[in-house]
C-alpha cells in the first residue's frame, strides 16, 4: 500500500527541478582503482557506482571455462550503507543476484570474448549510494571500466531509464519517481552500432508511449555515450599536457 504519494510533477517540473527530458548531473571518472585492470566511478545525480574489471585471466574454478570464448562474470552489489533507512544486509539478495545477471547480459554482446578462449573476465559493480537507476549506472560504469582494462569491445554500452510519472514520459528516474511512478523502463544500447542490449519494463505503457519513451531513452543514451568517451580520452590527454 502506497501511503501519501507525493505530487511528482508540479508546473511541468519534476520533484528535483528537472524538466521531463533532462538527465541528472553526470560525472564519470576512469582508472580510480590501482589494483584493478580497469575501473570507473560514475555519479548520476545521487547515485554513485564504482565498477572494477579484472582480466582476461585464468578461470577459477577450472570447470567453468569455455573452450571457445572467455566467460564473463559479473557481481552487482549494494553496499550496506548505500540505501536510505534501514541498513541493507550485506548478504546477496535475490534482487542483487538477478541484477548481476542482467548487467552481465547487457554487456556480453559488446565484449569480443572469442578473442580469449578459456579465460575469465570479472566485472564488479558496487553501488556506493543508491538513488534510483543503479543498474543503468552500473552498466555505464562497467563498460567504461572494461574499455579502461583494454578488453576488446565492439562498442561502449550505455544505459539509462525512462518511465512514466504522473502521466508524463520522463528520462532518468530517481528513487522517488521510480517508487511512485506508473512505469519504469531501463534500456541499454550500443549507440555506434545502433543496437539495444537490454530492455526491461516495469509497469504499463501504451504502444505510443512506449515508442516515445524509447526515442527519449536513445536520446539520453547518446548524451551519456559522449560523456563516457570523453572521460576515457581525458585519461590519456591529461598526461599529454
Amino acid at each position: 500500500m502506497k501511503l501519501s504519494k507525493p505530487q511528482l510533477i508540479v508546473n511541468g517540473k519534476r520533484i528535483d527541478g528537472r524538466g521531463p527530458q533532462d538527465l541528472r548531473q553526470i560525472k564519470i571518472e576512469v582508472g580510480v582503482l590501482k589494483n584493478a585492470d580497469g575501473s570507473a566511478l560514475v555519479e548520476i545525480g545521487g547515485t554513485k557506482v564504482l565498477a572494477a574489471v579484472y582480466g582476461p585471466r585464468e578461470v577459477v574454478p577450472r570447470h567453468q571455462e569455455q573452450v571457445d570464448r572467455a566467460i564473463i562474470r559479473c557481481r552487482y552489489r549494494m553496499l550496506s550503507f548505500s540505501t536510505l533507512g534501514e541498513r541493507k544486509s550485506p548478504a546477496p539478495t535475490r534482487r542483487e543476484i538477478e541484477l548481476s545477471k542482467v548487467i552481465r547480459e547487457a554487456l556480453e554482446p559488446a565484449v569480443l570474448s572469442m578473442q580469449f578462449p578459456r579465460a575469465a573476465i570479472d566485472i564488479f559493480v558496487e553501488v556506493i549510494n543508491a538513488d534510483g537507476g543503479t543498474r543503468t549506472a552500473g552498466i555505464t560504469a562497467a563498460s567504461v571500466a572494461l574499455a579502461d582494462a583494454g578488453i576488446p569491445m565492439l562498442d561502449l554500452v550505455t544505459a539509462v531509464a525512462v518511465g512514466k510519472v504522473d502521466g508524463v514520459i520522463v528520462l532518468d528516474l530517481n528513487e522517488i519517481e521510480d517508487m511512485y511512478g506508473e512505469a519504469d523502463m531501463p534500456i541499454a544500447a550500443m549507440p555506434s552500432l545502433k543496437r539495444i542490449t537490454m530492455i526491461q519494463l516495469n509497469g504499463v505503457l501504451t504502444p505510443d508511449e512506449f515508442k516515445k519513451a524509447l526515442a527519449l531513452a536513445l536520446e539520453g543514451i547518446d548524451k551519456i555515450y559522449q560523456l563516457q568517451k570523453e572521460a576515457l580520452r581525458k585519461k590519456y590527454v591529461e598526461i599529454e599536457e
Partner: protein
C-alpha cells in the same frame, strides 16, 4: 554516429568508427571490420597517419593483456612446480608451461630428482614461447642464447602494449637508455623488463625513466625528453655535473 575526423594522432576509444577511402589503407590488430571500408575500434588506441604514396592509418592499442606469440622472448615467474614441468606466469591470461627436460637439455626423471632443485616457485626465467594456439597452454623453451634462470638484477613491470615504446623505432629508445645509464636491459615482450645496473642510484633513475616512458608512451618526441630527464636526475643526485649537449 561518431565518425573520426581525419587528424594527426588522436586517441580513439571502443565504438569509434574509421571509414577508409580508396587511396588509404588501415592497419591494426584491434579493429573489427563492419563492412568493406568501415572498421570499428575495439580498444583504447592511438590513431596515427603515415603519409606516403598511399595513406596509411595505423591504430595502436594503449592497453590490454599480453597474448603469447610464437618466438616472443618473455620474462616469467615460476608459480607452480609439478612432477615434470613448471607453470610460469607470463602476465597473459594463460600460464605457460616450461618442461623440465627442456630446461635441463636432457631427459628428466622425476623419480630420481626433485624438480624444485632447479627452479622453485618465485624464480624468474627469461624464455622463448615455442608454441601457442589458444587451445592449449603456451609452452616455453630456454634453449637459446641469453635465456634461462635469472640470478641477479631487478624486475620492472609495465603495460605490455607499451613495450614497443621502451624499445623505440629501430631500438632508438633502448639504445639511448643503455648509453645514458650503462645498465643492462632485457626487455620481455610481456611487459617485464630486467635491469642490471652498476649501482643503485643509476638503477633508481632507470626505473623512473621506464615508468615515465610507460606513462607518456602516446606522446611525441619522447626519446629526447627521456634523455633530458635522465641527465637531470643524474645532476640532481650529484652523479654528474651539468653537461651541455
Amino acid at each position: 554516429m561518431s565518425e573520426s575526423v581525419l587528424m594527426k594522432r588522436t586517441i580513439v576509444v571502443p565504438g569509434d568508427i574509421i571509414v577508409v577511402d580508396k587511396n588509404a589503407s588501415v592497419e591494426g590488430a584491434n579493429l573489427y571490420k563492419l563492412s568493406d571500408n568501415t572498421y570499428i575500434v575495439t580498444t583504447i588506441s592511438i590513431q596515427d597517419y603515415e603519409e606516403g604514396e598511399k595513406k596509411k592509418i595505423r591504430v595502436v592499442s594503449l592497453k590490454g593483456r599480453y597474448i603469447p606469440k610464437e618466438g616472443d622472448i618473455v620474462i616469467g615467474i615460476v608459480t607452480d612446480a609439478t612432477l615434470s614441468y613448471w607453470l610460469v606466469d607470463i602476465k597473459s591470461p594463460y600460464p605457460a608451461i616450461l618442461n623440465a627436460s627442456d630446461y635441463l637439455g636432457k631427459s628428466f626423471n622425476p623419480a630420481l630428482e626433485n624438480i624444485r632443485k632447479y627452479l622453485d616457485i618465485g624464480d624468474v626465467v627469461i624464455a622463448k614461447v615455442t608454441q601457442f594456439d589458444r587451445s592449449r597452454l603456451p609452452t616455453l623453451t630456454v634453449q637459446d642464447k641469453g635465456l634461462g634462470k635469472v640470478i641477479e638484477g631487478s624486475l620492472v613491470e609495465i603495460e605490455p602494449s607499451k613495450v614497443g615504446r621502451v624499445i623505440g623505432k629501430k631500438r632508438s629508445m633502448i639504445n639511448m637508455l643503455i648509453e645514458q645509464t650503462k645498465c643492462d636491459f632485457v626487455v620481455g615482450i610481456n611487459g617485464r623488463i630486467l635491469l642490471k645496473c652498476p649501482n643503485s642510484d643509476i638503477e633508481y633513475i632507470a626505473i623512473l625513466a621506464i615508468k615515465k616512458i610507460e606513462e607518456e608512451a602516446h606522446t611525441v618526441g619522447l626519446t629526447e625528453r627521456i634523455k633530458e630527464f635522465i641527465i637531470n636526475e643524474k645532476v640532481k643526485r650529484g652523479l654528474i655535473r651539468y653537461e651541455t649537449e
